[in-house]
Symmetry: C2
Subunit: 278 residues, 2 copies
């Protein structure tokens, strides 16, 4: 039997399922954990959702995502920090290891990426005391460069790792092979980060061709990413954290029945996520 104790499904993968359905659907097929999205958790109610997950015995690698802080207006910026403090508390409530930071790209009408990145840094600095108090890490996720304009101005592993270095305790990296596989410095970056700063490792394949910039990500094995290479590298640096599959797939997987998606995710990821004997 496949060991799925380190394996979680990120619930956006089964987009049409509520938190209740996802918790039941993942547990039913032996998946160890669930990465939770804030909107589904709000739908369920944070305390009720937390109980649901605990009762099912699932671990929670992460809560997705931070509210965007790419806001040039100071009042809106402060409001987004308050919303993020609420999300940090929600992450603590469900036992999530981290809140995944996806801060937005440029503000509306903005062309200054340097300014946007400085604002993101300011936001993280402002949130850090609250995160430390709650025992929830801020998980910086390098997003693919094709999202720099509209989704996140954190776009390379090296950039995020340097930011973690500066911010120190209470931060770490959410590494997603879909976003970073192209990066000639990705493997070196993982080694440099080391096992403690990699908070969770996302699995998702790059399809050729990619038909949609945002929502055509591939099931593990359907694209061109060498997952075995990354698993070996993670073992080499003694990473013992979670593996999470996360699919944005308007054109394929979101159209399917959740049970089928989970079944195939387990089939494909099983060999990649098992605990190795030391």
């Amino acid at each position: 039997m496949t060991d799925l104790s380190r394996f979680a499904i990120n619930q956006i993968t089964t987009k049409n399922w509520s938190l209740r359905q996802a918790v039941d659907g993942y547990a039913r097929q032996g998946v160890g954990g669930i990465a939770v999205w804030m909107n589904y958790l709000d739908d369920a109610g944070v305390k009720r959702g937390a109980r649901m997950i605990r009762d099912a015995g699932l671990f929670v690698p992460s809560l997705c995502t931070s509210a965007w802080t790419n806001l040039a207006d100071p009042t809106q910026f402060q409001a987004s920090l308050d919303e993020n403090r609420r999300r940090i508390d929600a992450a603590a409530e469900i036992g999530a290891g981290c809140l995944v930071v996806v801060p937005g790209g440029l503000a509306a009408g903005e062309r200054d990426l340097v300014a946007a990145r400085l604002r993101v840094r300011e936001g993280l600095e402002a949130l850090l005391p609250h995160a430390l108090g709650a025992g929830v890490k801020l998980g910086l996720e390098p997003l693919h460069p094709m999202y720099a304009g509209d989704r996140s101005c954190l776009n390379s592993f090296a950039q995020c790792l340097a930011l973690c270095d500066d911010l120190g305790m209470g931060t770490g990296i959410v590494a997603d092979v879909y976003h970073c596989w192209w990066d000639p410095e990705f493997a070196a970056g993982l080694k440099q980060a080391g096992p403690r700063r990699i908070l969770t490792f996302h699995l998702c394949d790059w399809l050729v061709p990619t038909r949609d910039v945002y929502q055509d990500r591939g099931m593990v094995g359907d694209g061109v990413i060498d997952f075995a290479f990354y698993r070996a590298l993670l073992d080499e640096i003694a990473y013992d954290g979670p593996f999470e599959i996360e699919l944005f797939s308007r054109l394929d997987w979101w159209e399917r029945d959740g049970d089928e998606t989970v079944r195939i995710a387990v089939e494909r990821c099983g060999p990649l996520v098992a605990q190795r004997s030391a």
Copy 2:
């Protein structure tokens, strides 16, 4: 009157025009140069095309592109080198400063990006003597990371600059702000490269949203890129080479009349490309 002496249009921008039409259409509106694509040049005949361009008084910053060398089969790999030698000769014939290197991503069925990149390097090493003999530089173009799977495994400025360092004389960088604008290290890379290693500078805007991974690139001014910032930076490092607009735009500009595209390209780029008084 706008100074367009350093300004070229890359002829893929007017995709429906033949070389003859592009040469006439660009010259008619005072554009200084034309970046040529091999397929149009072959259609015209290399010698005839060269004469056409010379007679119109246009400069040629580059010939696009190298034949793909991402071929795992040794016979096909050698054949691609021969084709590339032919293209180097064609570049020399039309007075192009460089042959733009777009070597392909992964080979069919391949998942090993490191191997693909090594093969590209081998190919460049094999071509370098011929390029040096012909007086044509191999212009390494960092392509956006979203093309790593299928179009080019050269995906960051730093990666290409390191390759130029290794290969030495006869190589340089084709810098395209569309491909690199997201890169936190792009500005530093341009400074490090210096004016002599930047062979030509491509202008093209990043649209939000981007509706197509390959062919939805924006007219200068329609997207989120801060072109004035890059022009100032290039002046600061004393770059005095060409500026080239290059649009892949199935959804917009390729549908328009070439004269209109050229007119608007001149309007938008004019202020960005003029020679500054020293």
